[in-house]
Symmetry: C2
Subunit: 229 residues, 2 copies
């Protein structure tokens, strides 16, 4: 079967930059390509958009096919369209980004992916295509966004300590924050709910566990509340 057009058409792909947090490090999910071009190289999960498929749906499908990751929230990041970014033909790629809790998801490679794994953003192998650029763009976005949208909570377990939350912000923003000031600000927003529980199996005083109250957040939003860290 073949498809003919009066004018040349580019191919369109989607790519997904999924961030995760693993103890101390910010990570991204990569797959090792099992097909040419760039066979054996690491890249962001992604692939061709089907002709009647919405972009976001294509991204979710590819993500699931290649890594097993399912049902996560994707946000459009940027569209990469340099004419020579793919050696096969003109390929325009719509990149998405997402946050995921590493422990909640079991990654497993499939279809065009030989392998799938989380990599520390500070230690990324050489990437296929222009995916290095995509990574840079995604890091800028997450850094810019984390301060004024409560997206960070997606990276943590449902119940988390204030120290974990502070650590997350310090990791993404790449600067230290004052413990007391951080707590004052976060708790003052009235977005966190105490679970009444504390950490288990730690060799020191156990910290209180909180959960993010999305309903409260949405209610505050309607009243003009602005999240800011």
């Amino acid at each position: 079967m073949s498809y003919t057009y009066e004018y040349p058409h580019p191919a369109v792909t989607v790519d997904c930059v999924v961030f995760g947090l693993d103890d101390d490090d910010l990570k991204v999910l990569l797959i090792q390509r099992d097909i040419d071009p760039f066979e054996g190289k690491w890249a962001f999960p992604g692939g061709f958009v089907e002709i009647d498929e919405p972009l976001e749906k294509a991204a979710l499908r590819e993500l699931k096919e290649e890594t097993g990751l399912n049902k996560i929230f994707l946000e459009q990041l940027y569209t990469f369209g340099k004419p020579d970014r793919d050696p096969r033909e003109r390929v325009i790629s719509v990149a998405f980004f997402a946050l995921a809790n590493i422990r909640d998801h079991r990654i497993k490679a499939a279809t065009d992916a030989r392998n799938a794994a989380w990599f520390d953003v500070k230690n990324i192998p050489a990437l296929a295509f222009d995916h290095q650029n995509i990574l840079i763009t995604a890091l800028e976005r997450i850094k810019g966004k984390v301060s004024y949208q409560p997206i960070g909570f997606e990276l943590l377990p449902k119940k988390f300590t204030l120290n974990q939350l502070q650590h997350l912000y310090e990791t993404i923003l790449e600067r230290p924050l004052d413990k007391r000031n951080f707590r004052r600000k976060i708790l003052g927003m009235d977005l966190l709910e105490e679970t009444g529980e504390t950490e288990k199996n730690v060799a020191h005083r156990a910290a209180r566990l909180y959960r993010f109250d999305k309903i409260k957040y949405n209610a505050l939003l309607k009243k003009g509340f602005i999240f800011e860290v």
Copy 2:
């Protein structure tokens, strides 16, 4: 001539949302389509990306062809890809947005545009394709961006009064600002240079004219300065 592919390919277009400021109103540049589909309807300037052409270059080319607007700074806005957004075939459109000073540019329609004109964003005719969505996205973007990037200056003449600047912010943000607080904040940033000149031909005390000092701004940026209004 025809082009054949093993798999179906979407077409890719670019669209440009150009904002301008005319006295009291925020405007956008629209063209009236001279060809099907949506012949006679108003739409954002744009068109098909050539097979070896970067996206931004395509946007600049279409903008110039259809409206005469030349050499303005475009920023990628969002990519619109719903499968049925174009009745002809699957078309994925990469939208850009830009700011322009209306008085500096003479608009003239050409090629596929029967007409080109500025429209008050509060009073937009029915638009072709999903361009209403594109407009909404662009308005959100400019509103979100104007407060923390000094983009507003692009909309004003080179020399402008503080009242013009304040009015611009009030128009985009859709809320009133306090005159004294606004002046204190803007002047305190040390980004504006007094020209020494004043307004001409006004029936009241003439206001001082300022210009935006981009060199100073870039220097401050390097020192970690954050613009915020």
